[in-house]
């Protein structure tokens, strides 16, 4: 049986420790061990290529959830300049699980909104583990409207296990806030690019998920339900998440097959978490290219295509 991604990553970490040890030996004793180091490095790339070359849906799920992956604000730092964060929904609150602001992509002003997860315990709490609340979706809509007012394109980064389902969020209209965003995003008169950078969790993802282009990072997932939740319903056994991940069609390739996603953005070998700069560069290139294409399209045509793009999604039989 193939090792799980987690087990595999532990083995790689061990290998990396060994490589570092040999390097230290070289430094400390002045002996040339470059042959051995090269061999070990080669072994590492080889293992990464094999394991990450053909990941299953469950592998992708684990990679997408890896807490070391770059989060929205990491990408922002590496791809944009002059990012100015803007807070609050102007109604009741501020949601740390959704960030947004204005920024420059090369020379072009854009508005960025995206889910934000946290790394350490306190930030995770502040970010609500990436489960955005109604305040977050309403803030996102406010900022997207700001962008429209000044005719700046919108970029959305999706990375959420799902929308927040607490009692408070229910009381504040979590359903309505997502529905409203989906509805309004079809009417925004500026180009929108959506990127799933990590976890694309159901309605929580779709709440900032309507655009003229939808991109997915190579090791991200986009799913109607968490595989564990699906397994709990179908087989009454949440532990069978790995099986559910294979049948749910949550990989970038499956999403592309059904026209839900337009482009898969390559990640560095072994995943974005191994090389933030390379991941950011790859994504930045894709954004610049797609934005340039969208700028060629007249607004009316843009809105019509956006409608047609989503209107055509679905598979069914017609005729008795």
């Amino acid at each position: 049986m193939t090792a799980s991604i987690e087990e595999f990553e532990r083995a790689i970490a061990e290998l990396e420790t060994q490589i570092e040890r040999v390097r230290k030996l070289t430094r400390d004793q002045g002996l040339d061990r470059s042959d051995e180091i090269a061999k070990l490095e080669e072994l590492k790339s080889d293992l990464l290529r094999k394991r990450y070359g053909k990941p299953t849906g469950w592998d992708k799920t684990q990679i997408a959830r890896n807490p070391k992956r770059p989060f929205t604000l990491d990408f922002v730092r590496l791809m944009f300049s002059d990012f100015t964060e803007l807070h609050g929904d102007r109604l009741t609150g501020e949601d740390g699980a959704m960030v947004g602001g204005i920024a420059r992509l090369n020379d072009q002003w854009i508005t960025l909104v995206g889910h934000q997860k946290g790394r350490d315990a306190s930030e995770r709490h502040h970010r609500n583990f990436g489960y955005a609340r109604p305040e977050g979706y309403r803030k996102a809509l406010r900022l997207m409207r700001l962008s429209e007012k000044f005719k700046r394109p919108i970029i959305c980064f999706i990375d959420t296990p799902g929308a927040d389902c607490s009692v408070t969020s229910e009381e504040h209209g979590i359903s309505e806030s997502i529905a409203r965003n989906i509805h309004e995003m079809f009417r925004l008169r500026v180009p929108i690019i959506v990127v799933i950078t990590g976890e694309g969790g159901s309605g929580g993802a779709l709440g900032i998920g309507i655009g003229d282009r939808v991109l997915m990072l190579e090791h991200s997932i986009y799913s109607v339900i968490a595989p564990e939740g699906c397994a709990a319903i179908v087989w009454r056994d949440a532990k069978r998440g790995s099986e559910a991940a294979e049948v749910l069609g949550l990989t970038p390739h499956q999403a592309k097959r059904f026209g839900i996603v337009d482009e898969i953005v390559k990640e560095p070998l072994g995943g974005a978490q191994r090389d933030y700069d390379a991941a950011a560069k790859s994504l930045k290139d894709a954004l610049v290219r797609n934005l340039a294409e969208l700028h060629q399209i007249q607004t009316e045509e843009l809105l019509r295509s956006r409608y047609d793009r989503f209107r055509s999604l679905g598979v069914f039989h017609a005729g008795s």
């Binding site: 389902c165 509805h183 309605g203 598979v315 069914f316």
Partner: protein, 285 residues
């Protein structure tokens, strides 16, 4: 007039899930809420509302349409659409067949056009008796087409939810995309200056509520319906504690400003008529 809605013919699905098997078919029925045994004829005359406690029983989509639209006015459209199994999801084909046979429906929605007190409109009703009313490609497509037809004919559209399942996970991401698709159609309908009315019945949850179920000019709900984002159980798990009394009921949503009005079944037609009149909906001569 109200008494006549169920008068003419017995509708499919009249033996609702709440009837215990020990009682002879069709003569008696038992209230799922207060357990009172009700004389079926009287209960039907009461629009399937418990005569003792006021519990609104779930209706099938055909029953709902018969109750609300003018007699003989309903014309079904897109009745030929049936679910495919795009992901080859294990057991899905079989599930569709079983639910189809048990409910007499092709899928979890019935849609078409008709008149209500003379006002022409499009209507789509989701039905919890078919896979909990979950929104797959067929449900999304038929709702979108019903809305588009209304936009084209410049009539209001009435969308009625009886969907406990939200998304239909057997269709994976395609199911999620139905939220986008239906919302897009409603956005165009709104932009055309036309009315969208949403009626939420028990149950209305998840993907439905995070899309078309929240996008009416006016949102109405039947009393005591479960309406919310995720089921109470999931909310409870997420919260590691009890949820408040009456959480996610129609009345809860009314109190929290999420719906416009809770309307008793017997008053629905009148309320809808007023809204249609307000919208200046063209009547049918």
């Amino acid at each position: 007039m109200a008494n006549g809605w169920f008068g003419k013919k017995r509708l499919p699905g009249a033996e609702v899930q709440e009837a215990p098997p020990s009682i002879p078919d069709g003569l008696w029925t038992q209230c799922g809420k207060c357990r009172e045994v009700l004389f079926a004829r009287e209960w039907e005359r009461n629009l399937k509302v418990c005569t003792k406690c006021g519990h609104h029983f779930r209706l099938t989509a055909p029953e709902r349409i018969a109750m609300l639209l003018d007699e003989e006015s309903f014309v079904e459209i897109d009745g030929d659409l049936t679910s495919a199994n795009p992901l080859n999801f294990p057991g899905y084909d079989d599930k569709i067949r079983r639910h189809g046979a048990a409910s007499g429906l092709k899928d979890a929605v019935v849609s078409g056009h008709g008149t209500l007190d003379g006002y022409a409109l499009s209507v789509a009703v989701t039905d919890a008796h078919f896979m909990r009313g979950a929104m797959g490609s067929v449900v999304g497509e038929r709702i979108s087409r019903a809305v588009e037809l209304a936009t084209q004919r410049r009539t209001p559209v009435l969308l009625i939810s009886g969907s406990g399942g939200g998304a239909r996970m057997e269709e994976g991401l395609l199911s999620l995309m139905q939220m986008a698709k239906t919302s897009a159609s409603i956005a165009r309908h709104h932009d055309a200056g036309l009315m969208t009315i949403i009626l939420l019945t028990d149950p209305s949850l998840a993907g439905i509520m995070a899309s078309w179920g929240s996008l009416g000019d006016v949102l109405l709900a039947e009393p005591g319906a479960q309406i919310g984002f995720v089921g109470e159980r999931v909310s409870q798990q997420a919260h590691l504690g009890k949820v408040p009394q009456g959480f996610q009921s129609s009345e809860f949503q009314l109190t929290h400003g999420q719906i416009d009005q809770v309307v008793h079944r017997k008053d629905l037609r009148d309320t809808l008529t007023l809204l249609l009149e307000f919208a200046g909906a063209p009547g049918v001569a």
